[in-house]
């Protein structure tokens, strides 16, 4: 059976596409699936940095597409998980060096070999976006609770739907429950009423994310991290498991004590 090809996109930059790909990909690999991640952000690659694999790059996506190397040569295996690998983007080329048709073929070939193929989409809606989306059956749209990010997500969902990609899911990244409660940030319900696509998960704002990115170790390897747990739940839901969306549990000191006493 062919695997799933999933593109992670957002429109706006800096909302956490790469972090999402790295974490969900790693989590699914931990669940013993064969996972391949493609960095489609040609010219601005950084999935390799987040995965901590920067120094192992020899061949890249464009080399594969142009036939300078075999697919297996460009795939970089993860440091911990042998069933996880990534194809890095070319840093010295531009986005129009490949076309959607080539990308589609590559994704199809990879889907034969792997259970999950993730495509890390560049920001924007130009050529790079079209390339990244071409081979995907499913799309995950990442947004943050900011008006500008939501506006761009809305545009991207419109473009995906116009491209006849109907299986679209939403991840809300960097939600700060405290600010939502004070009414300073849009809540999950507000965002969903506007975007009207099924929610795959909510990732709370956390410093751990920055730290793990800088270290090059995906957050899901770390136990006890809230954001990491959110990502692993997202991976489970993507895998078809029925995991309820996390409720907010940070409701003050007394509630925590109460819960502690109960458990």
């Amino acid at each position: 059976m062919a695997g799933k090809t999933i593109v992670v996109t957002s429109g706006k930059g800096g909302v956490g596409k790469t972090t999402t790909v790295a974490n969900i990909g790693t989590m699914l690999a931990k669940k013993k699936y064969n996972v391949c991640m493609i960095d489609a952000d040609i010219g601005l690659r950084n999935l390799d940095v987040v995965m901590g694999l920067e120094n192992r790059i020899v061949y890249n996506l464009i080399d594969v597409i142009e036939g300078n190397c075999r697919k297996a040569q460009a795939m970089i295996r993860d440091r911990k998980l042998t069933n996880l690998c990534m194809i890095p983007a070319a840093q010295t080329r531009e986005k129009n060096a490949i076309n959607p048709e080539q990308m589609k073929n590559l994704c199809q070939e990879l889907a034969e070999e792997f259970d999950f193929v993730f495509i890390d989409c560049p920001a924007g809606i130009e050529q790079g976006f079209k390339n990244a989306v071409a081979g995907a059956q499913t799309a995950i749209v990442v947004t943050t609770p900011e008006v500008s990010a939501i506006r761009d997500a809305d545009r991207v969902i419109g473009l995906l739907e116009a491209g006849l990609l109907r299986d679209i899911h939403l991840i809300i990244n960097r939600l700060n429950q405290r600010m939502v409660k004070k009414g300073d940030m849009m809540s999950t319900a507000d965002i969903l009423s506007l975007l009207a696509v099924p929610l795959l998960g909510v990732v709370p704002e956390s410093e751990e994310v920055v730290i793990s990115t800088n270290r090059g170790v995906p957050l899901v390897h770390q136990k006890g991290s809230k954001a990491g747990r959110a990502f692993s739940n997202i991976a489970s839901r993507l895998n078809g498991e029925d995991v309820p969306i996390e409720e907010d549990k940070s409701d003050g000191f007394f509630a925590k004590v109460k819960r502690f006493m109960q458990s």
Partner: protein, 218 residues
């Protein structure tokens, strides 16, 4: 757009075309400059439209008319179809083009079926309807719905809606939930009040009253 000095050239919209009426005192250079500016600003709006030149107030020389015609065609693909010289003296530039009488045009437009959009209009969508427009879904911020007649939205209006786009001041905008970024009816533009507003239990209608766009609950 009211000021002490009149505009060098007025652009009026009628049911099926635009009328360009140069001011009696404006110089030709001024007219051209202003027109270029307007075309630049609203290129999409005027794109491939048909215009009439009304010279009853200010005559232009033949070469000036030709220059104007060329500029219109180059800048926005606008076709100059008629030149009105006096009250009853109209010069048709477009020979193959048969102009039905005004009344016939109106009845034909009334027969035009409404355009029905069966999905949510997301950011970046532009819907243009030659008659009424019905949206079965939301109109999100960044989306634009333009209709020659009424706009009816079975959902939330959060983007821009322009009813009566060719100048029909009786056009209205209906929405189950009215939180637009901007409302336009004919030549008027309205912005919603800043800050939250009470949520009405029923749908709302925007229409022109006393020369202003007003949103009311029926």
């Amino acid at each position: 757009m009211k000021s002490d000095t009149p505009l060098p050239i007025q652009i009026k919209a009628t049911r099926d075309r635009f009328i360009l009426a140069p001011d009696a005192k404006a110089s030709f250079a001024e007219i051209i400059r202003y027109l270029e500016k307007r075309l630049q600003e609203s290129k999409d709006f005027f794109y491939h439209s048909e215009m009439c030149l009304d010279l009853s107030n200010r005559p232009l020389a033949t070469d000036q008319i030709q220059q104007l015609q060329k500029m219109l065609a180059e800048r926005a693909g606008v076709k100059l179809i008629e030149i009105k010289i006096g009250e009853d003296l109209v010069y048709s530039l477009d020979r193959g083009h048969e102009r039905p009488r005004a009344a016939a045009v109106v009845s034909q437009k009334q027969d035009c079926a409404p355009m029905i959009v069966r999905s949510t209009c997301r950011s970046g969508t532009l819907v243009e309807s030659p008659a009424d427009c019905v949206v079965l879904g939301d109109v999100n911020p960044g989306a634009e719905v333009v209709a020659v007649k009424d706009i009816i939205i079975f959902g939330s209006l959060r983007g821009v809606a322009h009813a009566g786009a060719t100048g029909d001041r009786l056009a209205r905008i209906w929405a189950l939930n009215m939180e637009p970024s901007q409302l336009r009816i004919a030549d008027l533009v309205a912005l919603p009040p800043r800050g939250g507003k009470p949520i009405p239990k029923r749908f709302e209608v925007a229409e022109i009253r006393d020369n202003m766009i007003q949103v009311i609950t029926l």
